[in-house]
């Protein structure tokens, strides 16, 4: 066997294959590599950039409305609800569309696209655990979706606290920040994990996207429609947006249209999201890396 | 019948500005002929022209004396085994082959039986009732070959017929393809796996950038490559002394040593050189334990012909002044 490397002092340098002598990192933080790369790949898409930028506009409108209501309140005009509720209104009624679009673009197709292009072989023939893979993908989607939900929400919440009538009012409004964060996290998880669960079912990214849109919107229409017709609110618990709305209303103190206690929608949502997560992990464990 | 079945003259096919095939003139006789060439040389274009999937831009192309384009009756005499997977996953082997047999003009009542016979011949007797979706890659390949030969065509076009097959299946299929050639059909096999083409036939057509670079018997082609004279590799314990003995003779063009007991002689006069070597062994006491011609094979022909044409090859010939 010839010696591995030509002497580097020789006048002709050896440009062939050389060994690698540098550092090697432990695989504990490996998910960060996946996170960074998936985020970069997502960001490369024009639609993603446009969605994120456009999503910042409703916040302006809501801020103006909140400001006017606070001003009116200061002048002593009767305002029914606390203007701080506009944080919820912004997140649920405005940001939801942009956040869902982001989920459709980034979360829904990603796993099936990987299966199709043979990326599973790429990842799992390397020292990448299934959990690192999943965590990297979830986090990269979460950063984008949570930004859409949390940035406007937090800015509005901060504005509410800053424009409080007095110190006492400010203190009562402080929990608004924490509630916004909590709500955004729950919302984000709801927009990612069920989409991943669907992605594990089909190899066609297009079908997964269509299925996710159907799964999100159809039960909303049907569930609330039937619940209203039959006056049985429990039926609406099948719809993810309905659960999110009722949880948000309970959390932010918005007077609600139904009389179900807060633990119903919370339980239903956690059940659905929990099952989705379990399903994704199970499918990943069993996937055939190569045929 | 020794008349060529496939005749082409000045055949051209252009895709807009891109040349697929240019001025191709070749006659293909019965028997197995290998169709070779680097990627992009025009092999698939030629095959598609022969199958009637493309219309010639210019020139003449005739199979069995007729034009192929828009000639449906002629297609019943042509069998094609394509490179890509186009099989129907749900049909069983027999159904698939019988269906394509009927499309090629086999009467409906005979189609099933012929399909079964063909599948048996190709070693799929046990699997022919199973759906093709359950076949391994090698079995699928054999099913595709079956549909190409079930209607007993006169012209068979096989594009990489052995992909995905394991070594046992490869040997069996090579044997079957040779048999088909011996039956008098024209079998054109396009492949990159040169040692298998060599096992099937001595006749080849080598395409390069849309033109025919060589056409005919492998060994005759080899003899004609002037730039690379005939090489003889001699295994002898005392190779240096043997070289000294040989170098004096006119017929030796050059000598090279590879390891201690091998000397490689290049010669333009093999008929003079070989007896010289025999004399060395018998009259001059050299112990020769091996004699062979290392580049008298298809791999070498392919390499010499295509590399001599590449820009690097042309540059090199310029400096050494080799003749072709």
């Amino acid at each position: 066997m010839k010696s591995a490397i030509t002497d580097q002092k020789s006048p002709i340098r050896d440009l062939g294959y050389k060994p690698y002598d540098g550092p090697r990192l432990s695989h504990r933080g490996r998910f960060q590599v996946l996170f960074r790369r998936n985020l970069a790949l997502a960001w490369a898409s024009t639609l993603v950039k446009v969605d994120l930028i456009l999503s910042m506009f409703p916040m302006v409108v809501c801020a103006v409305i909140m400001y006017l209501k606070l001003a009116a309140q200061k002048r002593g005009l009767p305002i029914k609800e606390d203007p701080g509720l506009w944080v919820f209104n912004c997140i649920f009624w405005c940001q939801i569309w942009f956040a869902f679009t982001m989920s459709l673009l980034v979360a829904a197709p990603t796993i099936s696209a990987d299966v199709r292009s043979g990326a599973f072989q790429f990842y799992f023939a390397r020292p990448v655990s299934r959990m690192a893979y999943l965590l990297g993908k979830v986090l990269s989607a979460a950063v984008l979706i949570a930004s859409i939900l949390a940035i406007p929400g937090l800015l509005l919440a901060i504005m509410r606290v800053a424009l409080a009538a007095d110190g006492g009012d400010a203190l009562t409004q402080l929990p608004l920040l924490l509630k916004t964060i909590l709500y955004s996290v729950l919302f984000t998880a709801t927009l990612i994990l069920p989409a991943f669960a669907l992605g594990a079912l089909s190899r066609q990214p297009g079908y997964v996207q269509g299925g996710w849109a159907a799964l999100f919107f159809l039960p909303w229409l049907l569930g609330e429609g039937i619940a209203a017709a039959t006056e049985i609110p429990y039926i609406a618990l099948i719809s993810l947006p309905t659960n999110l709305r009722w949880i948000g209303e309970a959390l932010f103190g918005v007077p609600s249209s139904h009389d179900l206690a807060w633990y119903w929608p919370t339980g239903a949502l956690l059940l659905i999201v929990g099952c989705a997560t379990w399903w994704v992990i199970r499918r990943l464990d069993r996937v055939e890396v190569f045929s | 019948m020794s008349q060529p079945v496939v005749v082409s003259e000045g055949l051209c096919k252009w895709y807009g500005k891109v040349v697929g095939i240019n001025e191709l003139t070749v006659d293909i006789p019965p028997g197995v002929t290998g169709l070779l060439g680097p990627n992009g040389a025009g092999k698939s274009t030629l095959i598609k022209l022969l199958v009637g999937a493309l219309r010639p831009s210019r020139g003449k192309l005739q199979v069995l004396g007729q034009k192929v384009w828009r000639n449906r009756d002629l297609l019943a005499h042509i069998g094609y085994c394509p490179d890509h997977d186009g099989v129907h996953e749900d049909l069983s082997g027999t159904e698939f082959v019988a269906f394509l047999a009927r499309l090629s003009g086999v009467p409906a009542d005979k189609a099933n039986r012929r399909a079964e016979e063909t599948l048996d011949r190709l070693g799929l007797a046990d699997a022919r009732h199973r759906p093709i979706g359950h076949y391994s890659k090698g079995m699928r390949q054999r099913a595709k070959l079956a549909q190409a030969i079930v209607h007993q065509p006169d012209l068979l076009l096989l594009d990489e017929p052995l992909t995905g097959c394991d070594p046992l299946a490869r040997v069996q299929l090579v044997k079957i393809i040779k048999e088909l050639g011996d039956e008098g059909k024209v079998v054109i096999v396009s492949s990159h796996i040169l040692h298998e083409i060599e096992a099937m036939t001595d006749e080849i057509i080598l395409l390069y950038k849309g033109q025919v670079l060589a056409n005919g018997n492998i060994y005759r082609i080899r003899e004609m490559i002037d730039a690379h004279p005939h090489k003889i590799e001699i295994h002898c314990d005392d190779s240096r002394a043997l070289a000294k003995y040989l170098v004096g003779d006119q017929s030796v063009h050059s000598l090279a040593f590879s390891n201690d007991n091998v000397v490689t002689v290049q010669t333009r006069m093999p008929d003079q050189c070989y007896p010289l070597i025999a004399n060395a062994a018998l009259d001059n006491g050299f112990k020769i334990s091996g004699l062979n011609s290392p580049d008298n094979n298809l791999q070498s022909i392919f390499k010499y012909l295509t590399e001599d044409r590449s820009p690097e090859g042309v540059a090199q010939r310029g400096t050494t002044g080799g003749k072709r």
């Binding site: 591995a4 690698y20 | 062979n292």
Partner: protein, 312 residues
Amino acid sequence: MSETANDNLLQLDGIGKFYGKVHALKEVTATLARGTVGLLGPNGAGKSTLLKILLGLLVPSTGRAQVIGFDAASRSLDLRQRIGYMPEQECHINGLDAVELCTYAAELCGLPYDGARARANSVLAYVGLGDKRHLKVETYSTGQKQRVKLAQALVHDPELLLLDEPTNGLDPRGRDEMLQLIRELPERRGCSVMLSSHLLPDVEAVCENALVLAEGSLLFSGPIEQLRGKNTRYYRVGVKESPEAFAIALRALGARADSAQGGLKVELPEDEDPDFIFRCARDNGFQLRHLELEQRSFEEAFLDLLEEKSAA
């Protein structure tokens, strides 16, 4: 379990794998030293199951596998850090170019970003994709895709390279270049190579040893030379003139001569050496052109092995 790499490439102890009722692998036991190995066998022999076990992606139902000193089942992440796998199918991520893909591959094996990027560039230059490395991998031709696959298997400097049909779809020149790249690696780097292929000449060109499976059982493990066997009295002979006529001349002198592909297979009479054949040729007016000690071709040896198995 020893942390240091021991000398053996593979140590398989009674490896078995069941998929439900299907017995994919049956009691495979073999030990192979570091070097080059060909993994061979008919379709359905259990090769991909074995590869998955060696990569630590599948836990065997019975037995233990040690690969380059690591137990495949319990140290699979450490093992995959040191193995490079070049798959048969498409294996890339849409939207990345070759440098990004190889950098990503290296990072996933633990290299820091800068080291990964430098390494990706030099490995891509080694496999011959220097010019095209900033184009998206989806746009590559088959040959280029094969080279990218090799590059991303090599980028983290593995001790063992697993290759699955590396010359698929390559034209003859591409095949020669790919085999040359692969052959150089054990010489330069001292890494081991395991090549799984149906093309026996490829395996012969690269590997010293072979591991042959059929229907889940191990048929042979060891040097290819051993599989071929040796002899000293059979020669393959070719003449310029008609082989049949020469055969007659040989038989007249007491040798055995039979037709074989490309010439004659000759058994020398007792106590004779190859000069016997030279003499016979010269005396009878034949021009001897080919003289070679008969060695069973690898293909023949392999097929004989399979036949013995199916007869048993």
